[in-house]
């Protein structure tokens, strides 16, 4: 811990303020996570990472920086990690999931901004998160209006590169996104001083595909009647995947998947038989946002799938491998990323189809559609989500919430009532 303190000081962090966060996180993690029974052993790695979340990985990143490597901070699953990795750079997710940072964001942002954006900005400006300090460059994207404007504010404090994400998915938009990826690649080459070659990019594409496949394996086991891993644990794996080294992420996820597969074979479930199966859909749950999962899984139900960026949207679909030219590779990347279905696109029927498909694949009893307060994109899209689920005969509960704990009891009543309704 003494080493951490030195590191945080060197990073120019507000150490006193950061202490307040360090004090609450272990209790929260203990209450939410360590209280669970019969967890897979493979979760040990993730527990270990969380226990020193602002220590272990940050010091690895700083070590890498000393060797001349650059760290890119990203905020969205549309930004292609492959390009950065091909230039020997490192990607770290930077989404803030704690109420702790919200206040700092509110100093510069309107109150009516979603908590994810407020927390992300607050974490940077208040200097209370090492990852936000370490990143050499932030990569933003033109997804929602709130983020676009927030990037302007962050850009005053840190080098910022913005990718222009199309808002539709026509052929020409896919071509355009490929061009954006190419431009980004040029920027990454310039910033890292490393050339991106066909071979390097193929390697990077392979690495990230392997990571996606490993995460998908864990999810695959959640489709079974036997629930080998709690929703909370699966969520934690996803949240940490945004920060971790991709090869290690794949290795650890594969280990955990082996164990989950074995559990399915042996009929080992973390929930009693007949526990209601819930899919969560909607806005991302950035670490340490475990609120909904915790309420659901202590209200007699289990989360078996997240149709979220911290869920299926992160690993579904692979990039075509072994292509012979950079242009083809950029196009292949674009095609894969544009298969992602975020509510910032219009029309967005493919997301609705995804939700109905996933609800069936994961054999869910009900869907809880959630959006972060003030995210009007996902809030508006709820109408279509609910309609499609109603037509498919799948019960759905809509929830809007933020990072504060003040509505926890009200949410619990709704969620318990929903679970009671499922029979």
């Amino acid at each position: 811990m003494a080493d951490n303190l030195q590191m945080w000081t060197d990073l120019g962090m507000d150490v006193d303020k950061h202490d307040a966060l360090c004090q609450v996180l272990p209790t929260a993690f203990g209450d939410v996570y360590l209280s669970q029974e019969n967890r897979p052993e493979g979760m040990g790695f993730y527990d270990f990472v969380v226990a020193d979340i602002h220590g272990i990985r940050p010091s690895e990143l700083i070590e890498a920086q000393k060797n001349g490597r650059k760290v890119f901070g990203t905020f969205c699953v549309y930004v292609p990690d492959e390009v950065v990795i091909a230039a020997d750079g490192i990607v770290s997710g930077l989404c803030g999931g704690s109420q702790f940072w919200v206040e700092g964001g509110e100093k510069v942002l309107p109150k009516s901004t979603c908590p994810l954006i407020k927390a992300s900005v607050g974490a940077r400006l208040d200097r209370t998160c090492p990852f936000f300090r370490i990143a050499d460059m932030y990569v933003g994207e033109t997804t929602c209006d709130g983020k676009k404007k927030a990037y302007e504010i962050l850009g005053e404090d840190v080098p910022m590169y913005i990718m222009d994400l199309p808002q539709m998915k026509r052929e020409k938009d896919i071509v355009k996104w490929a061009e954006e990826i190419k431009d980004f690649a040029a920027k990454v080459e310039e910033f890292t001083g490393n050339k991106i070659t066909v071979e390097k990019l193929n390697e990077a594409i392979h690495t990230i595909n392997e990571k996606r496949k490993a995460l998908a394996r864990i999810y695959e086991t959640r489709k079974s009647d036997v629930i080998p891993i709690s929703g909370k644990d699966a969520l934690l794996v996803m949240q940490i995947a945004f920060f971790d080294d991709p090869a290690r992420c794949a290795e650890m996820a594969n280990k955990l998947a082996d164990e989950c597969e074995q559990r399915v074979k042996d009929g080992v479930s973390v929930f009693p038989a007949g526990t209601k199966r819930i899919m969560l859909t909607g806005t991302p749950l950035a670490i340490p946002n475990w609120k909904l999962h915790h309420i659901i899984e202590t209200s007699g139900a289990a989360v078996v799938c997240e149709e979220m960026c911290t869920g299926t949207r992160y690993f579904e679909n692979l990039v075509e491998e072994d292509l012979g030219s950079l242009d083809e590779q950029y196009m292949a990347l674009s095609k894969r990323y544009m298969k992602n279905n975020c509510a910032c696109f219009t029309p967005n029927d493919a997301r609705i189809d995804d939700i109905v498909r996933l609800a069936k694949e994961y054999n869910v009893d009900g869907v809880i559609d959630t959006n972060l307060k003030f995210c009007c994109l996902y809030d508006t899209e709820r109408r279509n989500v609910e309609r499609a689920l109603n037509e498919a005969g799948i019960p759905v509960l809509g929830i809007e919430t933020d990072y504060a704990d003040s509505d926890a009891e009200q949410l619990r009543t709704r969620i318990e009532a929903f679970v009671e309704m499922l029979g």
């Binding site: 019960p395 509505d407 009200q410 009543t413 009532a417 009671e420 309704m421």
Partner: protein
């Protein structure tokens, strides 16, 4: 043997005991108060005085304070209990239950005797008993007097749904010399509009609509709501006990 249902709402705690034939043999309402421990104890003592001993008679707790009844055999949410209670009271298996509570409003769609869907306003006090209370206070009348006054008012409206802003609107209406009747009318009108906007997605005209909760005694509220929803809203003198009655019916299913 009796079956006990306790509904700890935000303002009132309701207790019901039913017998084997589901007839109500005991009913009690008291303010929830500050200390849930005290409230829980009071209820237990009063039940014992009436011959219903906790530990012998099965007991189910519901309402937002359900977890603070340590002696309950089971807790069930108010949504499920209101559904069951409304079925007991009104006899329908398909209906819409509108429950205007102290701090929240619930719309429950009941199909085949089960909850099919529900909507809850628990974020703000607009459209709840609390809103009525605040406005009554501003007008220096009791909530009952307010609804009585409203029956004789007309043609005034409050545009803001937020209690805080609505209160200042009421104050400026008073300042303008608007009659109490008209302001009371506007207050009730605001509540029924809020409730009806919440119920926007349920088809009200195709099935019976029933009103439960603390405001069920007001004939004027019932009428205003009927008008706003475009269908005759039914109520029942015991409808404020709907949650507790529902809880008691679930207590019947507890095996000793």
């Amino acid at each position: 043997m009796g079956f006990i249902g306790i509904d700890i709402g935000s303002t009132c705690a309701k207790t019901i005991v039913i017998d084997e034939n589901s007839a109500i043999v005991y009913k009690d309402v008291c303010p929830t108060g500050w200390s849930s421990v005290d409230t829980a104890n009071d209820i237990r003592v009063r039940l014992a005085d009436a011959g219903h001993v906790i530990g012998e008679d099965p007991c189910v707790a519901t309402g937002y304070g359900r977890v603070s009844i340590p002696y309950a055999d089971k807790t069930i949410t108010e949504i499920t209990c209101h559904c069951a209670g409304a079925i007991e009271l009104f006899g329908y298996r398909d209906m819409v239950v509108v429950d205007i509570g102290g701090q929240d409003t619930k719309i429950i769609e009941v199909a085949g005797g089960m909850v099919r869907n529900f909507w809850m306003n628990d974020k703000c006090s607009a459209g709840t008993g609390r809103f009525l209370e605040v406005m009554a206070n501003t007008l220096s009348v009791s909530p009952d007097q307010l609804t009585a006054l409203a029956a004789n008012g007309s043609d005034t409206s409050i545009s803001s749904m937020c209690t805080v802003f609505a209160e200042s609107e009421v104050i400026s209406l008073i300042g303008r010399g608007e009659s109490k009747e008209n302001i009371a009318f506007a207050v009730v009108d605001s509540i029924v509009r809020k409730v009806s906007s919440q119920a926007g997605r349920v088809n009200m005209s195709a099935q019976p609509v029933v009103l439960t909760g603390g405001l069920c005694d007001s004939e004027y509220i019932r009428k205003a709501l009927s008008k706003e929803l475009g269908t005759e809203v039914e109520t029942n003198p015991d409808a404020r006990y709907a949650g507790a009655i529902g809880a008691a019916t679930f207590a019947k299913k507890i095996k000793r």
